[in-house]
């Protein structure tokens, strides 16, 4: 019976298609998905992983039969972590490659360049890794945020954790001068003020790419904090934490979510012991949890020649989010259009492909997929979960009513 209905549906679609404008990127047997991320330049570890994770998911989906009888074809463009090139990439994907949906596995820095254009074009834009606020506020029908959560949400969780877990009254903040770290720092400061009436005892900035943090650390040391919150990249965190130890700074470090990654331990070695942060995924690569080892084995089979440090968090995020996107396309049914996809995604509640991903929920009011993060600590060179849950309700969703 199902087969008959499916055949009838397909026949109807085949008849209907020539009668009105065909949905771009969708044919009878193929859905074309476009994506962009940095695969060259200093942020390549994000884009290469994002691409590989996404492609692994696509391969699995296609092998299992595709989506409603259609296979997924992927086109990937490099954005070099630059907003201008991200804009060029999405332009090409939408206008030249005529993709159905664009997925961003790039960083905030680059994605902000493409957001206005995607809003204008109305093509569904699913942002997996970037946390730039513009993606979800002001609300746009065709934009979705997947893996990373809102920057404001980071601020909420970090502030609450610093105040209640560390029980810190004196907090020092070190943040890098780029979109993402600066947003994290600002959001944390904001929530510390509004929720806990605390102001940081020191707020210092550094440049991304700095190799020496002595001046900043000296200032932090002078302020005698209970904990040091660091927002930047793993490479800088590693140097800063090592130099802190050398200067005799004994306070614990708390790092932003993009540093809760095996890369930090690889870069910092012993200095990273005891560092805490929030993770976007339940298990980090290298964890002994059975689901994780299974997933990693499958990944290594697909990518046997990958360099050290892979798979990393971005492989997992993109993998999980591609499945979410695919789920949306599946629920949209045979008549796959922008509208039907948006509607289907908005109906998704607590969906995830497996325990290696965190669940996603969308609604008609907002497209913020992930509001939960997992606190972790570095123990014996490995990130382990910490027992702590947030007791406060998020303020973010209030503005969507």
């Amino acid at each position: 019976m199902r087969t008959v209905l499916l055949a009838a549906g397909a026949a109807l679609c085949a008849l209907a298609l020539p009668l009105h404008a065909q949905q771009q990127g969708v044919t009878a047997d193929t859905i074309t998905v476009g994506a962009h991320g940095p695969i060259t330049g200093p942020a390549a570890y994000i884009g290469l992983a994002g691409r590989d994770g996404m492609l692994l998911a696509i391969k699995e989906i296609n092998t299992a039969g595709g989506i409603n009888g259609r296979k997924i074809a992927a086109v990937f463009e490099d954005d070099g972590h630059s907003p201008t090139r991200a804009l060029a990439a999405v332009k090409k994907l939408v206008e030249q490659d005529k993709v159905f949906v664009v997925m961003s596995v790039g960083g905030s820095n680059a994605t902000v360049g493409a957001v206005d254009y995607m809003k204008e074009k109305g093509v569904p834009y699913y942002v997996s890794i970037a946390s730039a606020p513009q993606v979800t506020w002001p609300h746009a029908k065709n934009l979705f945020r997947g893996g990373t959560t809102e920057t404001a949400r980071y601020g909420e969780l970090y502030a609450e954790f610093l105040a209640t877990y560390y029980k810190a009254k004196r907090i020092a903040i070190m943040s890098g001068r780029e979109e993402y770290p600066r947003n994290e720092g600002d959001a944390t400061v904001d929530k510390l003020k509004t929720w806990f009436q605390t102001a940081p005892v020191a707020r210092v900035e550094f440049n991304i790419g700095d190799k020496d943090f002595t001046p900043q650390l000296v200032e932090v040391q002078k302020a005698n904090p209970d904990v040091v919150a660091f927002f930047g990249n793993p490479a800088e965190a590693a140097i800063a934490m090592r130099q802190a130890k050398e200067l005799g700074l004994k306070q614990p470090f708390f790092v932003g979510s993009n540093m809760v990654d095996p890369a930090l331990v690889a870069a910092a070695k012993g200095s990273s012991e005891g560092v805490m942060g929030f993770s976007l995924i339940p298990y980090l690569p290298g964890s002994k949890a059975p689901d994780m080892t299974k997933w990693e084995a499958a990944w290594k089979k697909e990518y046997p020649n990958a360099p050290a440090g892979r798979p990393n968090n971005f492989d997992l995020l993109a993998y999980g989010d591609m499945y979410v996107l695919a789920e949306g396309m599946k629920r949209a049914g045979a008549n796959l259009t922008t509208d039907s996809l948006v509607k289907a995604l908005e109906g998704i509640q607590d969906y995830r492909v497996g325990s290696v991903a965190t669940p996603r929920t969308f609604s008609t009011k907002h497209h913020i997929g992930n509001l939960t993060l997992v606190p972790m600590v570095v123990k014996d060179g490995q990130w382990e979960p910490v027992q702590w849950t947030s007791a406060r309700e998020s303020d973010i969703l209030k503005r969507y009513n």
């Binding site: 490479a235 140097i239 690889a266 360099p307 050290a308």
Partner: protein, 291 residues
């Protein structure tokens, strides 16, 4: 600023300055000998760091790793000189500048593709526990780097003053024509000046890796090395070392005095001022004439 703070900053400045000094040294040596400025020297340092990474992951002991990195650096330099520099050594300066730039980028690109951009590191040979003395904290790796830099500097000075090859290099730098007439094999001199330079650069990569980590962007520090070479005046060996150390100190202190916003401007403004008013630096002699 308290004395303790100033001294602590000075230690940090000298430690990072030692690396700049080695890079400056590596730049000045082939320049003195053959008039070629290797803009790709930063990537030689990157290469040294990654070579150290690979060798360390093979569980080789540190002294072996050090010897291998130096040897690999030298071999690499000879290869570059033979294959890429020799055909254009008579070309105008523009070609050499851009070519060495391009060689550096190729090395960086190859490293990026092979190793990815994830940060890595290796441990220093003496562990990470700081040595506390006289109220100051010394990072053992920094002391080791400083010591190596001094050793290399004295070795190079001795080389130029007392060995045949060293004296031959000095002769060639004054006049390749006359040197040739004296029976000196000029091409051999060029080759060895490159080998020494890249060996020093690779060594710098090994030394600096525990301090700043291993990633393809390490080569950026060539800008600081160049500034050190300019301060020293491109033709003076001790000048290059002093220049590099000075850059390290300037960088560290300007971070505290100016704040991180504009501290990155200081080296380049200094570079421009020096080039305009004292291009021969504080130690250099008149411009080396190329054939």
């Amino acid at each position: 600023m308290t004395t303790t703070l100033a001294l602590q900053l000075a230690i940090a400045g000298l430690s990072v300055g030692s690396i700049y000094a080695l890079v400056a040294l590596a730049i000045v040596i082939p320049f003195k000998a053959s008039g070629v400025l290797n803009f790709g020297q930063g990537e030689i340092v990157t290469f040294g760091a990654y070579a150290a990474l690979v060798l360390t992951q093979l569980a080789l002991p540190y002294p072996i790793v050090l010897a291998c990195v130096v040897a690999l650096g030298a071999v690499g330099g000879i290869a570059i000189e033979r294959v890429l520099i020799r055909p254009i050594v008579k070309a105008p300066e523009f070609t050499l500048v851009i070519a060495t730039f391009a060689i550096g980028l190729l090395i960086k690109g190859a490293i990026s593709v092979r190793f990815g951009d994830s940060p890595n590191t290796i441990d220093g040979p003496f562990g990470g526990e700081p040595i506390v003395a006289a109220g100051l904290r010394f990072n053992p790796t920094s002391l080791w780097i400083f010591g190596c830099t001094l050793l290399v500097t004295f070795a190079v000075i001795a080389f130029f003053r007392h060995t045949r090859l060293g004296k031959a290099m000095r002769a060639v730098s004054v006049s390749p024509e006359a040197a040739k007439l004296m029976g000196i094999r000029v091409d051999r001199v060029y080759r060895w000046s490159w080998a020494i330079s890249t060996a020093i650069g690779a060594l710098a990569g090994l030394l600096v890796a525990p301090l700043i980590g291993i990633n393809p962007e390490i080569g950026q520090l060539i800008l600081r090395g160049l500034l050190g070479a300019v301060i020293g005046g491109f033709t003076s060996i001790p000048g290059a070392v002093v220049g590099g150390l000075a850059v390290g100190l300037i960088e560290t202190f300007s971070g505290v005095l100016i704040g991180s916003a504009f501290k990155n401007l200081v080296p380049f403004v200094l570079l421009m001022l020096l080039l305009v008013f004292r291009p021969y630096g504080l130690f250099g002699a008149a411009d080396v004439q190329r054939v």
